[in-house]
Symmetry: C2
Subunit: 353 residues, 2 copies
């Protein structure tokens, strides 16, 4: 097959109606990649279909209010740089920020396993309180359930969030246009590799911490500097990593994403660990990094705005939007070649958030 | 000890600062009774304290918007009259309705266990869609996580909800006043007993189904008939049952709740099963029943309004608010005696919702 035939075959496969072919749920269904997408489209969207859900973005926006939710099942519960508690607050704050919203209120629902240490729970809620303070949000309502031993894994947390979207801010993956610049806000993959190494069992030592942080200050700065129209879309690169987010943009806008491998910031420790584990940093979850697609003419202003904030100090333009081939993410490698960065299949790093 | 000394001792115990004394989480911490309350006050409220969370109501209301969340861990997942899916939609719809809100948007976050049948998931999401339609709400955002076999129990669902509160509607357990009437919207305990019997293992047969249903139509009718001021507070009698809800009212308003045992509607099958199980129907969870505290002079109008709706056909005045003894719930028994209906201790029916 030549390149054109390959692209055609990929296109044909993607146009097929999503259909879950497995009888049983697998870990891949929770990995954020191809299987998750199929499950969402074939089961959840099929049942719940409505115009607000359909974009399948990080949250839904209606009447100037953004609304989002995420469950957190990370293991281990405590890892260098954070724990399930600040992750659950920052993750939902970030989903709201990616909608262009100012996060305001959070809910927190706990599923605890019988026998879970109360002292650990206090550490977790303490971190949540601190993360909420840092993000400027209030945890206003919650719930607690306890299940028998062996029916959970210590502690699961589900947060939901409500935020306000200023008039004129309208972000959407489908708004990406040829000529737009793709910016990441800092080095990628720290969170995923940190959690993976915290599980032990791998003989890799690395001086890494999760970058989990609230990004609403950074997004406010970016939107203030560039104006709503020039920022096409914001996504935090969690499960499935930067590669998954960019595939969603490419598909939604029917454009090509062309990445420059050498421009993508990856810490040497992350790169080294990924090489040993046989995974690509582009697919590794970040928890305090975002991908911004901005009008190419605003790329400089956007970069300045991001770099002026501590959480965006390592921001970089990593690629651009092109017309062809629509729906695909391409990577120009350091050796001058090009490869397709496809949607994630399987789950290299389960329960990373 | 005479009666006065007993009451004083209970009062003293209640005034003590809530403090979790256990090192490990127990099932009782999730039962909705005394241990849950202590955990919430000592851990969650202590960490997150703010004026919106402090009332510890079914949801929080700010700027005319109500916001609430609940996790669902019911076992079995399917039971006569419903499943975890419609339960998760109705429960959050009802929490919003109890805030006096018109439920509008729901989020749904799934934690699935590896190996869970996709066909079961489809049945659950189908029921959720139907329940959402019936309640007039839209599921606009969601999340899916998958955990390894043995790290969950098939499927857990966390829903959050956003609703709009009309100006002038202001419900609060602390608004209850001596002379107010206490109304339940129908027979109590069906849900809890149905789920208990669906687990099998008990040699009890009963023709019972869960009453899980969206109560927003019923609350809208009641608020329309009585006006905001005359309806003091609404609570759905879920975990911990009617007894727990009324204890919360008694404590929040520093009033006595005096119940008339013979007026409380309980189906013979529920009464029979409760007797065999050694539990009191007053503590059994309902999922489609509410307790309304209304101005005594509006009791007739409230009752008419409720009975005119299919979900309130069995509504009854079951007691009244009195001045003394503040903070307690008393039951006038059929034999002419009086007993204290205290807050639930332990968990007679774990994972009922």
């Amino acid at each position: 097959m030549n390149e054109e035939q390959v692209l055609e075959r990929i296109e044909r496969a993607r146009r097929r109606k999503a259909r879950v072919r497995e009888d049983l749920i697998t870990l891949a269904h929770g990995a954020g990649g191809k299987a998750t997408r199929t499950l969402i489209e074939d089961v959840f969207l099929e049942s719940f279909r409505n115009p607000l859900l359909e974009p399948l973005a990080d949250g839904a926006v209606a009447d100037g209010v953004a609304f989002t939710t995420d469950s957190y099942v990370v293991t281990p519960l405590f890892f260098p740089g954070g724990n399930i508690g600040d992750l659950a607050v920052n993750g939902t704050v970030n989903d709201l920020a990616m909608c262009g919203a100012r996060p305001a209120y959070l809910s927190a629902a706990f599923i605890l396993e019988e026998g879970f240490p109360v002292a650990d729970l206090r550490r977790i809620t303490g971190s949540m309180a601190e993360a909420a303070r840092e993000a400027g949000v209030t945890i206003v309502t919650g719930d607690t359930k306890v299940v028998q031993r062996g029916k959970a894994d210590g502690c699961y947390i589900t947060t939901a969030g409500v935020g306000m979207v200023d008039p004129g801010v309208r972000l959407s993956a489908s708004a990406a246009e040829p000529g737009d610049a793709i910016i990441v806000s800092g080095p990628i993959g720290d969170h995923g590799v940190t959690v993976m190494l915290a599980r032990g069992g791998l003989d890799i030592e690395a001086d890494l911490v999760s970058e989990t942080a609230p990004l609403n200050g950074l997004t406010a700065r970016l939107l203030g500097a560039c104006g709503g129209g020039q920022v096409r879309c914001l996504r935090d690169a969690t499960r499935g990593g930067v590669a998954t987010v960019l595939n969603e943009v490419a598909e939604a806008a029917r454009v090509a994403v062309v990445l420059d491998e050498e421009a993508i910031p990856v810490r040497p420790a992350v790169r080294g660990a990924c090489e040993l584990l046989g995974i690509d940093p582009l697919y590794v979850a970040c928890e305090g990094r975002m991908v911004a697609v901005v009008d190419g003419r605003s790329a400089g202003a956007a970069l300045d705005a991001l770099r002026g904030h501590p959480l965006g100090a390592g921001a970089a333009v990593v690629g651009r939007i092109a017309e062809d081939p629509p729906g695909l993410v391409l990577l120009r490698t350091g050796f001058g070649g090009t490869r397709i960065v496809d949607v994630l299949v399987g789950d290299p790093l389960p329960r990373i958030c």
